[in-house]
């Protein structure tokens, strides 16, 4: 394909949006952040993780949603049911669990020792006789609306969610349904605390226009080539507030002669691409899914599936990986990344994974080392608007829907066409 074959100027239109400058306010306004707290994060279904993280009965994990000041305890009870609760003791509201995960039939509050089952029921109260009129049945942990969908654990912080998960996902649910998730039980977990609005870093992982410029040596030559120098998209699709794009990959990429360690790392391990840790063969069912590389091109690097508001599910020849963009203030973000890799069985596989991780961390460092500069530029107030090109349509779509949710008094209004 030649470069101009990729010129479509249609993604923006497909997203139902108009070209033209996009306001920068949602990236820098503390007042807008308050609306995001109540109306975006407070009312959306949020992906908290996967069921494999709490595989065993009575296992649990704690996840923080800083923007909503919520600490969320997600448990699997003795019957195997997955349920989220506020991680808050009913007695005097101490945060109940302090470790990130655990496994035990009773969860004891470290303040006065109230004990709860993994089903959230209150099971033990020291010196219970002195609590006049205490009814254990009404003093269990506060439940949070929870749904498990294709192994993903979703929660909704509204006491009574205005929209069902099924309606929230809409056609995006059909698009992603029944995907296989290879190595879902073995994530590499990465975290960065960043000095930028959460949408600044989410944007950095929603377009490939930046790749040849900010990642010239790490992945520039894997995501671009003479036939697509500026990372134009192969495909983009929009589903209500959710979005998808497919990125170009250079099928000719090989390590250079001087890259001896890279050659050694990949020499006896068959992965789906040069920058992957998945094993060829074990990826077949995953790669056969119609929404993984949907254009079925050889020139494919990865797809981005962005689940509104803050979760990015990426697929590539070597498997899947995820990003969570958790706002911690209007200009800070906790960015969490998980790369799902096979369990290394041999020394060579393990060495390849170390090289793979070293490289993807360098790529992340290239991305996230730039975001504070973007935020400073935004906050300088020098400019009112950003110019977005057609291949940045996912960013335009993101701003549009975040603003729409922030403006809408009801979820029905936010989700209306």
């Amino acid at each position: 394909m030649a470069a101009d074959d990729f010129i479509a100027n249609k993604w923006t239109q497909l997203a139902g949006l108009k070209n033209g400058p996009v306001s920068a306010e949602s990236y820098r306004s503390p007042a807008f952040y308050q609306l995001e707290r109540e109306r975006v994060f407070g009312r959306s279904w949020l992906i908290m993780g996967r069921v494999e993280e709490i595989a065993k009965p009575h296992s649990f994990m704690v996840k923080e949603i800083e923007i909503c000041e919520a600490s969320v305890l997600i448990t699997r009870d003795g019957e195997g049911r997955v349920q989220a609760f506020h991680n808050v003791c009913s007695h005097r509201h101490n945060l109940l669990v302090s470790e990130p995960q655990g496994c035990s039939q009773l969860i004891k509050c470290p303040y006065h020792g109230w004990a709860y089952g993994t089903d959230g029921e209150l099971r033990g109260v020291p010196d219970e006789k002195c609590f006049v009129g205490l009814d254990r049945k009404t003093a269990g942990l506060a439940k949070i609306a929870t749904e498990v969908w294709n192994g993903w654990i979703f929660i909704n912080l509204e006491r009574k969610p205005s929209v069902s998960l099924e309606d929230f996902l809409g056609d995006f649910g059909s698009f992603l349904a029944n995907m296989e998730y290879p190595n879902a039980d073995n994530p590499i977990v990465v975290e960065a605390q960043l000095d930028c609005n959460w949408k600044v870093v989410a944007d950095a992982f929603s377009e490939s226009y930046h790749i040849p410029v900010i990642h010239p040596e790490t992945i520039g030559t894997t995501f671009a080539s003479t036939s697509n120098r500026t990372g134009r998209l192969m495909d983009a699709r929009f589903f209500g507030p959710h979005r998808f794009c497919s990125m170009y990959g250079n099928p000719e990429y090989r390590p250079h002669d001087h890259q001896k360690v890279e050659q050694l790392a990949y020499s006896q391990v068959q992965t789906g691409s040069t920058i992957a840790a998945g094993k060829v063969g074990s990826m077949d069912a995953f790669l056969a899914h119609p929404s993984v590389n949907p254009t079925r091109t050889k020139s494919w690097s990865m797809d981005v599936n962005f689940v509104f508001p803050n979760f990015n599910l990426d697929t590539g020849p070597g498997g899947f990986w995820t990003h969570h963009f958790w706002p911690t203030s209007y200009h800070t973000t906790r960015h969490e990344v998980r790369f799902y890799v096979p369990k290394a069985l041999t020394v060579r596989e393990r060495f390849q994974q170390e090289h793979y991780l070293s490289r993807v961390i360098e790529v992340l460092v290239e991305d996230v080392s730039n975001v504070a500069r973007v935020q400073r530029g935004l906050e300088s107030g020098a400019k009112d608007a950003m110019f977005l090109q057609d291949n940045e349509a996912l960013l335009r779509h993101s701003v549009h829907h975040v603003e729409k949710w922030a403006k809408s008094a009801t979820v029905q209004e936010a989700m209306s066409e």
């Binding site: 977990v189 001896k260 393990r350 090289h355 460092v365």
Partner: protein, 113 residues
């Protein structure tokens, strides 16, 4: 009792153990990012020609139960992957516009560590 830091065949690399055979991904990554290019290259030039032999040697042991000397050699290989980021990719110790310490932290590494 053998008190060698590395398996006998790799004794020539012992001078690099204290600096590079670090037991976590973050430690190796931060160390490489904060090192001078000369320093990284000295380690790379010593370790890279021995990497194939090191992998071949380590293949004789169970991956999840390496003896102490072999475990150090494995960590030296992991450090070589880090050195390769500087030597084979960036041509400088770290991403040019990144600040030290590097903001990205690995909370759960590939296993076994």
């Amino acid at each position: 009792m053998n008190n060698s830091l590395l398996p006998a065949a790799f004794a020539d690399l012992e001078a690099h153990v204290a600096e590079w055979a670090l037991p976590s991904f973050d430690a190796r990554m931060q160390h490489r990012a904060a090192s001078s290019m000369d320093n990284i290259r000295r380690f790379y030039d010593a370790m890279q020609p021995r990497a194939e032999a090191a992998l071949a040697h380590l293949e004789n042991f169970p991956l999840d139960a390496l003896p102490a000397a072999e475990q150090r050699l494995m960590h030296m290989l992991y450090a070589l992957a880090q050195a390769a980021m500087a030597v084979e990719i960036h041509g400088q110790p770290k991403v040019g516009h990144a600040k030290l310490p590097i903001a990205v932290r690995v909370l759960r590494e590939p296993l076994p560590v």
